[in-house]
């Protein structure tokens, strides 16, 4: 699971209203090599929940000094964009789980695939 995906995932357990962001508990993390596209990163940043990204990256030990809040003019800062690129696309949680912040329900991650299926009684 990449952090870009994590940024969009939310808990949908019945009755939960504050199911975002999911807490990450990782037992295995991998870093890949993905082609850097500055335009991609630039345009993706406004679509993100920035604080959720930074917290998640921090937890996995890949924060790389990303600031808690976005600085203006980040579009021209290639150094910054490369760090965001790495956090979004290159860091991957292979084994672990995601936890709903409200209900505590855990969704396992195995082979990089989070299993978000709910049981009958949770829907």
């Amino acid at each position: 699971m990449k952090l870009l995906t994590h940024n969009m995932l939310t808990s949908h357990v019945k009755g939960v209203t504050k199911g975002y962001p999911l807490l990450i508990k990782a037992t295995e993390v991998k870093v890949n090599d993905v082609d850097f596209n500055p335009q991609f990163v630039c345009r993706m940043i406004p679509k993100l929940e920035w604080s959720a990204l930074v917290e998640a990256a921090d937890l996995l030990g890949h924060r790389q000094d990303l600031p808690s809040e976005l600085v203006p003019d980040y579009e021209k800062n290639e150094d910054f964009l490369k760090k965001v690129h790495r956090a979004l696309l290159e860091v991957e949680v292979i084994e672990g789980c995601l936890q709903c912040p409200e209900s505590g329900r855990e969704f396992p991650i195995s082979r990089g695939i989070p299993n978000m299926l709910l049981n009958e009684d949770e829907v």
């Binding site: 969009m8 949908h12 299926l117």
Partner: protein, 483 residues
Amino acid sequence: MSSHDGEDTAEQTSNVSTPEETDSAIITVYIGATVPTGFEHTAAEEVQEKIGVDARISKDRGRIYFPISTDKLFQVHRLRSVDNLFVVVEEYDHYQFKESKEETLMELQQLASKLPWSNALKVWELNRSLKKKKGHRKGGNSTRVKPDSEASVADTRQQELPRETSPAGGDAKTESVADPESCQQDSEEALPEARLIKFRVTCNRAGDKHSFSSNEAARDFGGAVQEFFQWKADMTKFDIEVLLNIHNEEVVVGIALTEESLHRRNISHFGPTTLRSTLCYGMLRLCKPQVSDVILDPMCGTGAIPLEGAIEFNSSFYVAGDNNDMAVNRTVNNVSHIQKRRADKGSSSGLPIDTVQWDVCNLPIKTSSVDIIITDMPFGKRMGSRKKNWDLYPSCLREMARVCRPGSGKAVLLTQDKKCFAKAVSQMGGLWRKVLTVWVNVGGLHAGVYLLKRTAAVFGQTPEDVRQPRGMAGTQMDERDNK
């Protein structure tokens, strides 16, 4: 017999075997390509974009033609919307067939020695040497002579699909000739391998007014070709495949440039309903992925669509999801396979794609966070059932509308269950608007690819998005059953 004047063929064929010396002169030939029916325009667009020429769409559906000069030949292998490629030897728009079968077949035989083979054969040879260099795709620089690993993967796993045919009345089967006469002489051609060339003829025939079958045409034409070139006929281990395509009055003679169909290129781990990559590509082009678009396939199966997207439209981000264990595992395996292949070639291997296991009717995705939804919906034939679709389709469309960005969002959905789909969409008029439909053929089934636009309506405020309690949906289905 009228001849189409499109080509730039240099010489008449009086004494043609295969070229003895390598001509370095650049020539222009016509290339024919088979594409998934319905996506001819998409393919023509891709040709314009990647090769810079206008393609002509043939009356024979599923085929396009375009000119190319030999110095640019390698570009044809970058085309992602094409199943098969061939070089045109000759093309007749209005071939006047003789009255009787005997005369017609005799004429076809005579044709073999009169056709302008020379340029087409040069292109065939050039193409063969291109294919031997690994990495002709994506401009790779390796020149190691090594069997193309993509082809061998496709070989071991490829499920046999029937060849493209257009069933416009009568006999449209693919036939090949296996001439019983065995050729004993040594080859006189100075081919690099200095051995006898093996060939076969494949004939596709469609039309009501022909006096002959494709079998007969292939047999007689093939026999004459063999006489003329002194090649050896071999149905399975051939070097050259000659194509004889007859569609009413249009006759095209070509030489194949692709061995096995390119349509299963990305997939090494097949599932029961894996879509061919050329169809995936056509669907992706339809939704015009932009830089940083978030693209979801919520019923991804083996991941064919998002994987093709991650490779070809790689400035977007793909999330592939399915509820089925085997499906998500196959998707991950397919992604890994491609990444490993890229790593072996020395390029950065990571693809912009992720896989999640989820229920499409209850997506664990934030509202309004997705730009495009693209998926192959269960037809209800090999996967799921028609009965399930009555419930599934509206739930899907509703949930997809929720996660899709209002105003700018799009969906490209493939399904064969057109009735159910039409009903579901009409019920969702406040959230989805139909933009266009492309009719396609998927494994022999007539299906539609629907392009929908997400309306600007915010989810939660239209009557459609009031979720029905689980019990009620079941009741509705029972009522329908009892009628």
